[in-house]
């Protein structure tokens, strides 16, 4: 035998095998849904970046002779009250709707991270007051907080974005705080402490990355939620004003004509459903793959 020890796995007599992974029987079906979802998200992203590629027609072009045309080969999603092509408007609306959703999520996350870190890392007093603040904000269910802000500041694309962002904040903040506290009291942080690492290093290399890791999944799911809420506000007429091509504003316009032109609401709506559903599917995939690497 050489000077080095033999790995016991070759000589070990007893079975000390790693636990077998669960068989992935459903993986084929899952990957179908995964690729379908990825395709939808890719298409929406493409529409947001280069709408002209998918819909060469001008979304604002009025053609009064063609108003309220039902879906046909010429206008696959039909036309609206001014004869504008609904398909072009859906494609061209992706950019602004996505921007509002992403912006709102960013605002919500930023506030949540500040609150959550203060709560999770600050002393007991700071945590107690931050928890109260989060709890108060959380008592405004759903988009109510957003509606208050819009009542105060009037409706515009910016208020819509900020309002949705603020409305999503309490949920994120609870999550961040809980996550930071859980990581902070974990055995691996204790192990890092016992190795004599400085608090700054433990915070930077262990606590923050682990606390923020589930956020990637959360953001994927959260962008979808933010787009839905923004669209709901738009639907109520509290967002971007027509004739701008934006999903919420289109829903609002379609509401008026719902009994004669169902396609004006149906197609922007189903685009939102397909997109958020795809984000959910992707988010769950992401969750499963991070979970399998992070179970404690």
């Amino acid at each position: 035998m050489t000077a080095l020890a033999t790995p016991p796995t070759t000589t070990a007599p007893a079975e000390d095998r790693p636990r077998a992974r669960r068989p992935r029987s459903a993986s084929s079906l899952r990957s179908v849904s995964f690729w379908l979802a990825a395709l939808v998200v890719a298409l929406v992203l493409l529409a947001a970046i280069a709408p002209g590629l998918l819909a060469p027609q001008d979304p604002l072009e009025i053609s009064l002779g063609e108003s309220f045309d039902a879906p046909s080969l010429a206008h696959v999603f039909g036309t609206d009250q001014s004869g504008r092509d609904v398909y072009s408007r859906v494609v061209h609306g992706a950019g602004q709707s996505l921007a509002i959703g992403l912006g709102a999520t960013a605002i919500g996350l930023l506030g949540a991270v500040v609150l959550g870190l203060l709560g999770g890392l600050g002393g007991r007093l700071v945590d107690a007051s931050v928890t109260r603040v989060i709890e108060v904000l959380y008592a405004f269910p759903g988009i109510l907080l957003a509606l208050i802000l819009i009542a105060v500041y009037g409706s515009s694309a910016l208020t819509q974005m900020v309002a949705v962002g603020v409305a999503t904040m309490p949920g994120y903040a609870r999550m961040v705080r809980g996550q930071v506290l859980a990581v902070k009291s974990s055995l691996y942080v204790e192990a890092a402490r016992s190795l004599g690492h400085s608090p700054a290093r433990i915070l930077r290399r262990t606590i923050l990355p682990n606390a923020f890791r589930p956020l990637t999944v959360l953001v994927t799911l959260g962008v979808g939620q933010a787009i839905v809420w923004a669209a709901a506000l738009g639907f109520l007429g509290m967002g971007v004003q027509p004739p701008t091509a934006e999903w919420g504003a289109m829903l609002n316009a379609g509401r008026t004509y719902i009994q004669q032109a169902w396609w004006m609401d149906f197609f922007p709506g189903i685009t939102i459903v397909a997109f958020t559903l795809s984000l959910t599917v992707l988010g769950r995939h992401l969750q499963r793959s991070t979970d399998s690497g992070a179970t404690r």
Binding site: A231, G237, L251, I258, F266, G269, V273, T276, T280
Partner: protein, 335 residues
């Protein structure tokens, strides 16, 4: 043996709060007290938000700056609503009013906010209650039919739940309206008696049902793998019996805990649904108030919704205690 002593809660002898939490009525009292504090904070926030409004509220009352009202009319309105007094005095009046159940007068409707809400909240509560019932029916049916069953059935069930949960109310409402009221004419287009409740309640209940079903199914699956299931079977119990008597109870717990939150999301969903179906209710009032920047009404509705939300959460807590006896005897700490 000393290490073999039971882990029953010991006679508490600590700070007041801890002692209160040790008993069930005490814990409810603590919950109610903290709810009152919470509502006070909510009221304070909305009050000061109101004073962040760019522009003069008196102008808003007189129909906005565009109406260009004469200065003495503006001054009169200011005096009438107390806008000329210091902010803290106004705040004191506001809180005093709250204690007497007075939320001020609506700018646009010139009526007490409380009266408007009292009139409109009943249809909204009916709608949310019906929706919650539909949601639970979907969740339980989906779980019992497909959870814990091997193969395709469970996968279809869980896939369907994901889709249902992802349906936004503004879209589902429109689709249901077009299909069942406009095209098939099975149900009235606009609000009309109990039949008019069906589509709005489905619009709200189906997505929440999908969500609750996901949560319930996950818990059902987890509970089915617990050793106590095997243990019950080894005593000779039937599998169906064990599913009903043991597992379902565990599976319902997280859903019950989320129902308070669910009720909140139903109320904010009611805003959209009432608009779609032209239904009377607090949601319609809120939309009108927000668009016309009628702040007392917005604040009033918000406050009442927060109140309903808080009460709903206390009720869910009590329901959770009814299902989970562990909460009755252990010293629970919500935070």
């Amino acid at each position: 043996m000393t290490t073999d002593t039971p882990s029953t809660p010991l006679a508490p002898a600590g700070p007041l709060l801890a002692r209160l939490r040790a008993s069930l009525p005490g814990r409810i009292l603590v919950r109610v007290l903290s709810a009152v504090v919470l509502l006070w904070a909510v009221a304070t926030i909305v009050f000061f938000l109101q004073h962040l409004v760019p522009g003069d509220p008196a102008l808003a009352i007189l129909g906005g700056a565009a109406a260009n009202p004469p200065p003495d009319a503006v001054a009169a309105v200011r005096a009438q609503y107390g806008f000329d007094q210091p902010l803290l005095v106004q705040y004191g009046h506001f809180l005093g009013g709250l204690l007497h159940g007075d939320l001020g007068d609506s700018y646009t409707m010139k009526e007490p906010v409380v009266a408007i809400i009292a009139e409109q909240i009943v249809p909204t509560l009916q709608l949310t209650a019906a929706s919650l019932a539909i949601a639970w029916a979907i969740a339980i049916a989906s779980t019992l039919l497909s959870a814990g069953r091997p193969g395709l059935l469970a996968r279809i069930g869980s896939g369907l739940e994901v889709v249902l949960a992802a349906l936004p109310d503004f879209w589902l409402g429109v689709v249901l309206l077009v299909v069942f009221a406009v095209t098939l004419r099975w149900l009235p287009v606009v609000d009309g008696g109990p039949a008019g409740l069906v589509l709005p309640a489905l619009t709200l209940g189906v997505p929440l049902g999908g969500f609750l079903a996901q949560v319930t199914r996950d818990e059902f699956d987890a509970a089915s793998r617990q050793p106590f299931v095997l243990s019950a079977l080894s005593r000779g119990a039937r599998l169906g019996d064990v599913r009903r008597r043991h597992i379902l109870r565990h599976a319902a717990l997280p859903g019950i805990a989320l129902s308070g939150w669910g009720l909140g999301s139903l109320i904010s969903g009611a805003v959209v649904v009432e608009v779609i179906f032209s239904r009377q209710g607090i949601g319609q009032v809120l939309v009108t108030a927000v668009t016309s920047q009628d702040l007392p009404l917005v604040i009033g509705v918000t406050f009442v919704v927060a109140l309903v939300y808080v009460i709903a959460n206390i009720l869910t807590d009590i329901a959770a205690v009814a299902v989970d006896p562990r909460l009755r005897s252990s010293i629970g700490d919500a935070s």
